[in-house]
Subunit: 475 residues, 2 copies
């Protein structure tokens, strides 16, 4: 039996559905060459669609350029796909015999030191390996959809192979979690299964709809679990009294008839101590107060990220902002165009507002002026807008996360296509922090060229400029 040598940075994908395609995308975008084997005549189209999604999202996670994309090939024979691959990933349907046959074919042609990973969500390595020539080469490498974005991969199998696999996955930007004891469905899918089952009962019993269940998750504990899991979250909730105290309080509820499924482990002193000790090892280097603030900062940053997408908890924040938005100000003097708090996601490494966010504040101030002259969302949708062509920002004082900031804007010019603004950013009602002198031009969004404003926009621009004509002009 020939054993071709491993070609570094070459992966083989056996089974090219959503999961196999996601693996292919992850490898390719991190610079690996990928050979796909899938008898489905639609495989090339399907993987192409996954690649489209992956190319528009994975590179954007990074502040640096990714390596040049690898080469994707489709092979008609499994031996051509797996020859020389350092990693072979099986993602075929969840039927044990089919998987065992695939491993048989793969091991006949793959390199002896290749990793063979299975995307199985349920089978244990001992089941996958039971018919294999080289059992230890085959491991569970269970990813989460979308594979090109979510980092988690559960690894189960021989210590040597899972250790080698963990190194490769780390290089791919993934989070390998070595599961030390094989168990049906590994770790994460057991939780998914428990929640899925409880959800089915609720729908069957008419307690909640799919949408109500999803809302109960994504506006509440789903946000918590994106950053801390179950136990660290409860450690914080338990407060200074600690994890053992939390279990003493919360544990008894397990005996109540809350769910359909009732088999509960006895909360012996030993089990409570085990949990408390593990929690100390995991999180004990932070005080509860520190963990509270880490949690809160994470939640604020994630909810603000969703705000940018106008989705879920973020869409709710946008809704609240619109209700809180101030009335139009008196315009005879420089008027308030921004009033807000500096959020955590605007911080640089030492807790100051990052210098680029001064530009954001002035851009937001200009948006307020645009709305005031009638260049609002509807106007923009009609195909007209203002573009900034130049802005000069002067930084006078530092400002910090949590500080209240306020911007007043003076209209220096408002005629023809030109709108020129002078922004002053203050700490609350106090110190001047920065100034921005900004020139905007009115554009036609169809031609992307400058054009005269329409309707009463020109008139309102001129009126603001007239109202400020008597004010002292910045130097």
């Amino acid at each position: 039996m020939s054993r071709p040598e491993i070609t570094n940075h070459k992966a083989a994908i056996v089974g090219g559905g959503v999961i196999g395609g996601g693996w292919a995308a992850r490898f390719l975008l991190m610079g690996w060459d990928v050979a796909v084997y899938d008898p489905d005549p639609e495989a090339e189209r399907k993987i192409g669609e996954v690649m489209d999604n992956a190319r528009r999202s994975l590179p954007a996670l990074h502040e640096v350029a990714l390596p040049p994309e690898g080469t994707l090939t489709f092979r008609d024979r499994i031996e051509d796909a797996v020859a020389g691959a350092a990693w072979i990933q099986e993602s075929i349907p969840e039927r044990l015999e089919m998987k065992q046959r695939a491993f048989d074919q793969i091991q006949a042609f793959c390199a002896a030191d290749a990793v063979i990973g299975s995307s199985t969500s349920g089978f244990k390595p001992s089941e996958l390996q039971s018919m294999a020539d080289v059992p230890d080469q085959i491991i569970v490498a269970h990813p989460f959809n979308p594979v090109y974005l979510l980092p988690l991969v559960e690894l189960v199998g021989s210590p040597d192979t899972t250790a080698k696999a963990a190194d490769i996955l780390t290089d791919l930007g993934m989070k390998p979690l070595i599961v030390r004891k094989e168990i049906d469905a590994h770790i994460a899918d057991r939780f998914l299964e428990a929640v899925w089952r409880e959800g089915l009962w609720m729908i069957k019993d008419g307690v909640a709809t799919t949408e109500e269940i999803d809302d109960a998750i994504r506006f509440g504990f789903g946000l918590r679990w994106a950053q801390m899991g179950l136990f660290e979250t409860y450690r914080v909730a338990g407060g200074e009294a600690g994890m053992a105290h939390f279990i003493a309080q919360f544990g008894p509820a397990l005996k109540w008839p809350w769910t359909k499924l009732m088999d509960v482990p006895d909360l012996t002193d030993d089990l409570v101590k085990t949990i408390a000790d593990q929690s100390d090892a995991q999180s004990g280097h932070h005080t509860i107060r520190e963990l509270e603030r880490i949690r809160d900062d994470n939640l604020v940053a994630m909810m603000r990220a969703l705000k940018g997408r106008d989705w879920g908890a973020g869409a709710l924040l946008n809704h609240t902002d619109r209700k809180l938005a101030p009335k139009e100000p008196d315009t005879t003097e420089p008027f308030v165009t921004v009033e807000r708090t500096v959020p955590i996601d605007w911080a640089d490494y030492n807790g100051h507002m990052n210098e680029s966010r001064y530009g954001q504040v002035f851009s937001d101030a200009a948006d307020t002026v645009m709305r005031m002259v009638g260049a609002d969302a509807e106007y923009i949708a009609s195909g007209k807008s203002f573009f900034t062509v130049e802005i000069t920002t002067k930084f006078l004082e530092e400002t910090h996360v949590g500080d209240p900031i306020r911007v007043t804007t003076q209209v220096l010019r408002g005629e023809g296509k030109k709108l020129e603004l002078f922004h002053r950013m203050y700490h609350g009602k106090g110190q001047l922090l920065a100034t921005g002198r900004q020139l905007l031009l009115h554009v036609d969004l169809t031609t992307r060229r400058t054009a005269l404003p329409e309707g009463d926009v020109a008139e309102k621009m001129a009126a603001l400029a007239r109202a400020h004509a008597g004010l002292e002009r910045p130097g």
Copy 2:
């Protein structure tokens, strides 16, 4: 019995622990006056600590200023706390008789049209109300910790009272979820309970530690659930074939011995149709392709938010970036200081890179130059740095989410305290998109005043300036 009239925007908090304190913070920061009743002599300190956390996080969720903070008072008698309150929130320990006694006292003194909400995580409204004079006034209003950030509140009780409560909570920026059928533990806590129980088994059986379980959640499905819940996530995973197809595929696994708890509803045609219909009503206005992209954009934005916090999935991205970072460039010409993709969280409403992010890109370019002259993280930690005092940004062409961008930097001056840079931002290796002329001054971080650079930083600045002395200077 006297029935004082409701004072608009006045809330009473009965029980001032972590949950009661979180409610108090939410009301106060949204402009309500709050009176607290809690016999615990530590209540004032405890609520003060919650307020400290809330003041530094809740306002930062918003792009506008919140109303002026309300007044917080502590009352020794429950009647003084609840008098005139529009909302009374009970958050005392989970003992039914204690709660029933509290409602008795509250109803003796509160306004007839006040909402009385219970934070109970387990009891049904019929249990809470069973001894009450006015049963319908008492509802479950179950929040999630931290109450001042997480929007979800489960409301269970009479349609009139829950509708009134929902209006008030919406004004507070929360997400009321009216649970139509009373059930032990409402909706969300049933899921938490199921996961908690499964987690306890895994620890008891030595399968996984608390940290491994938390990692299995927060690097995988936790990220999914922060933005779509269980069913919308599976709708996307099921693809074009739809929800019924997904259940047909995934459903049988429920019969396998994956979890400790096995009672499974029969997947009758009726149940499958109910789920598929509900899923259509929830998400059917988006195609699967649209949902995939919404999901991916949400994940990218949230993971990038965690990247800013250097936590969980975000810390992993930072780790990968450091490994991918390019080597130092040839400095005889304008050298590459940024090379990356425009991420989704930099988009404005029409998919262009927001103008303020040009400033961020140039700020990142300056950071690269700082590292090259030896003003790296260690140097900054030693108390020296460069601050930008002025930057002029010219916008030449638009750029879009997903575009590759590249910045070259020319050093115009590098002497004394002054570092002057000229950045050119390109679309990949093509078109010039923008320029930035940036003046930085070297500062002593202790005095926050300008100072001469130390060590070989001055020398390296001068060397870069000399290397670029022969280049054509921008106008």
